[in-house]
Each structure stands twice: as structure tokens, then as C-alpha cells.
Amino acid sequence: MHMADALVSPAIGGIMLAASAGAIAYSAYKCKDDLDEKKIPLMGVMGAVIFAGQMINFTIPGTGSSGHIGGGILLAALLGPFPAFLAITAVLLIQSLFFADGGLLALGCNIWNMGFYACLLVYPLVFRPIVKKGFTPTRLTVASIVSVVLALSCGAFSVVLETLASGITELPFSTFVGMMMPIHLVIGTVEGIVTGAILVFVYKMRPEILESSLENSKLTPGVSLKKVMLSLLVFAVVLGGAISLFASANPDGLEWAMQRVAGTSELEASDSVHNAFAGIQQATAFLPDYGFKSGSEEGSAAGTSFSGLLGAGVTLLLAGGTGYLIYAVKHKKKNQPEA
């Protein structure tokens, strides 16, 4: 479910980075207040456990396919919501850097989709109320399945929204949702069952672990958890609305910014200076808008004329050549002392 940089527009990426940064800052602030110092190494190690644990393949009976564990709900149950959110953020950052799982621009989206819903929304609103009356294997299993399915669905739905709002894919909304939701429902159920089994085992062996995280998830007296979560939810909805409005009007955030700066999206070929570049002017990167895509307007269509494509090919060759040249020069330099 990791989103890649290439599928996110700068505007969406930026907004989601800001939203996630806000959630991180709030969690860090909450932890600063009442985090047991003992938990700091624990959070780090648990992050590493999730990281490594996600690589364990297990076989799903009767299907021949395999699955792996998720992280959000499991971490939240073990650490409490805020520490879990921070731990998962660290995991996602490391994954994005080392494994090309998601990217830096899409990191905000990924933290939101895979961390926020599970740790800060579903855990306090669904998981916690179910097990609050006391841990039993049944309650733990039910809570895990329901929570993981919900968290994954929220995440998958957000992937759809964010991708569509970014305007990268032409996939219609209904098709996209139709593809994403059922599969994540299945994945969620399997993951939920496994999460439940893990938690039941941990509770059997060391009940105090789950109990303490449940207690730690309480907010300071006077602040109703529901209120905070509701306001977060409202914030998320408003944010979602803003994103889609913004995105539908401005398929390309940078273009939009340029438009604001230059007063027009098409930089006028002002008489003298740009005359020399008149040929290129038509094709400057930020000119084309969706209106051009019919190709009716001569030479435009986002600079995608045949000669443009040829130029692109030459460019790639040039780039490759430059790289080769640098390698060659470096290699020569290294060998010189020996010669």
C-alpha cells in the first residue's frame, strides 16, 4: 500500500506531509508529557520488530498464497497510540529510504494512510472500547480483526483519493475503489486474525504489557478522547475536501504557483528576450494544460511533437554519455598513479 513519489503531485504530497507532520508533532508532544522514559528504547526496538516481522511470509490456508503482518494496530496495542504512531513513522521513513517503498514526497501520504488511521483513529475509537472491559481471547481477536480491517480500508480509500487528487492516473474513481477495497478487505481480515493471535499469545505470557499500554492511551483527565478524535476526524474530512477542491482546480500545484507568481500560466513570449526562443516557447514545461490534450492546437500537446520526442531520445543519450564520460575520467585518474 506504499504510495510512490511518482504517483503524487507536489500539492498533495505537500499537504499530506504537513498533515502527517502535524500528527507527529502532536504525538511527540503527548509523549513528552507522559511517556515513561523506559518506553523510548522499547519503541525503537518494536519499530525494528515490525520492520523485520513484515518480512515473515506466512501461508494462508486453502489459498496457496502468502501474507505478512501489518504494523499499526499491533504496535498501538503494545505501546499505546502515540508512541506507536511515532514508531511506525520511523519504520516508514527507513523503508522509503532503503527499499524504494514509497518515496520522500509521498512519505506524508504513507504515514497518514498506514500510521494515522491505525494508531490515532481506529485504535482509540474501536480497539480500545472493545477490550476496555477486560482482555479475553475473544475480545482481543474481534477487536484486532475489526480494527485492522477498518484501518486498512481507511488507508486504501485514502490511497485512491490521494492518487486521483494528484491527477496522475486516469483510472475512474469507481474502478479504482472497486479494485482497492475488496482486496484490502481480504488482506485486512487475514492480518487481523494474525494480529489477534499474536496479541492473545502476548497477553497469555505477559498480561502487563497490554494492560499498561491500554492505560497509557488515556488522555489527561479533562480532555475527552472522543472530542480529540472527533476534531481530528473533522480535520481529516476538511483536509480531504480541501485537497480534492484544490486538486481538481489545479491539477499541477507548481503550475498553479507559477500562475500566481507570473499572473498567467503561459509565460508571454515578451518581445525581445524571448523572441530567440520563440520555437521553444510553445513547449515550455508549464504551458500545457489539460485543454491541450486533444492535440488540436498545433505543436503544443505538452510539447509532445515528434521532434520533441526525438529530442528527448537525444537528451537521454547525452545524459548517458555524460555519465560514462565522468566514469571514464575518474577511472583514468585512479589508474594514473599506478602507470
Binding site: 525494528a48 523485520a52 520511523a90 486516469e170 499469545f201 500545457p288
Partner: protein, 265 residues
Amino acid sequence: MANISDSMSTINSLEEMADGKTIIHQFHPMVKLVITLLYIVLVVSFDPYNITGLVFFAFYPVIMMALAEIPYKPLLTRLLVALPFAFFAGVSNIIFDRDLLFLIGTVPVTTGVISFFSIMIKTVFTVMAVLILIATTSLPQISYQLLSIKVPKLIVEQIMLTYRYISVLMQEVSNMYTAYMLRSPGAKGIKMKDMGIFVGQLLLKSFDRAENIYFAMKCRGYDGHYVYAKPDPMKSADWLFLLLTAGLLLLMRFFNLSQFIGSFL
């Protein structure tokens, strides 16, 4: 198991690359972080139908990799992992976006085809940029910089701790997995019904480990937060590199040089 040993060797090889001593390695981590982000933003900001301008951004990864002496092969393998989802998103464009642009011989080129290639190229470029960053700058270096842009210390500590224990935990998982598989011949993975105990055991061991780490920290005077060295300031060479590269990237973004070259052909 393939997954784990793959990941361990990926991390190892990237860490070894980050140990390099080339000019790119020596630039300030902040500079590389900013440039990488700028590069990604500029690349993804291209209109889906503008691949001629986009292609010019190939210069960045190519030059950086050559200067930093990063071998191509390991990065290209990582790239393959990232491509399938992009491919899926891109193919749908070919299906749903069928306005004809022009013909090459008798082969029609539609807007969908162009935007398909645009997505694929963007994927390649953005993934390369991130991998180049991590191949020239170690993760701890990057994390230190997060402190200087006021990212909460707690989250930086989390990144460092998680990173530190990934290799330890992967080794542990790999040992447990091997022990399990040796006793269950013919199995393709861990049986789902055993997962609770398998991961549960891993968790319990890790709780004990975390407790030991905590005690070891305590014995050395830890009291709730720890102090890092301040990151080195940026030198003038760093600023120069930053401004130059950022300038070039912006130039590449706003002047379609491919088109320019193409107009001479």
C-alpha cells in the same frame, strides 16, 4: 528466507556505498536532502503529457551516480521493485485516455501512451533520487539534520534506534524462521496458525531486549533524553553546490531543452 537476506544485503550494500569518500559524499547532508526533495518535487510537477521536458532530468541521477561512483546494478534492482505499481497506474492511462496525438508510421501515439511513459519515467527518476541520497549519505547523518530543522527529538531518536536494531532483529527473525522451516519440511512459509506464537515469541524476546537496553542506558546516566553532538554547519562549498544544482534543476524544469534540441533535428 529470501526476503530477509535480500533486505539485509540491500541495507548492507547501501551502507557500504554511503561509506564512500567522493565529492558527493563529502557535501553537507542537508544540501543533499534539500536537493533530493527539490528534484523529486520538480520531477513530479511535470504535466503528465510533457515527457520531453521531463527526460532532461535524467542528467541528475546519471551525473550524481558517476560522481559518487555508485554502481548501477544494485540501484537498478531496487528500481524493479518500485515499478509494478506505477506500471499498473500507467497502463490504466493507456486504456482510459485515448486521444490521438500523432502517428509514428502507422503506430498511433495517444495521450495515454505518453502519460504512461511519463509515469514510468517519473518513477525511475524519483526512486533513483532517493537511492542516490541514501547511497551517499548515511541514515544517521540524515537524521541528525532533522534535528536542526526542529523535528522533535523523540522521533529522531526513534529513527536512530529502529535503524540500529533492524539488523539485530532481522538476524533474529531469520534464525527463528530457519529453525521453523527445518522442522517443517515442504512448507512454503510459516503456517498461519503458528504466526501468533512465532511473532509473539519474537515480541517477548524484544521486550526483554528493550529492557536490557534501557538498563544499559540507565547505567550510563540516562535520564529520559539523550544529547547528540550538534551537526556541522554548512561550508561555503556546500552553499555553492546547493545554489548551483538547485539553479540548474530549476532551469531544466522551466525550459524544455529537449524540445530545443529536437527543433534542430
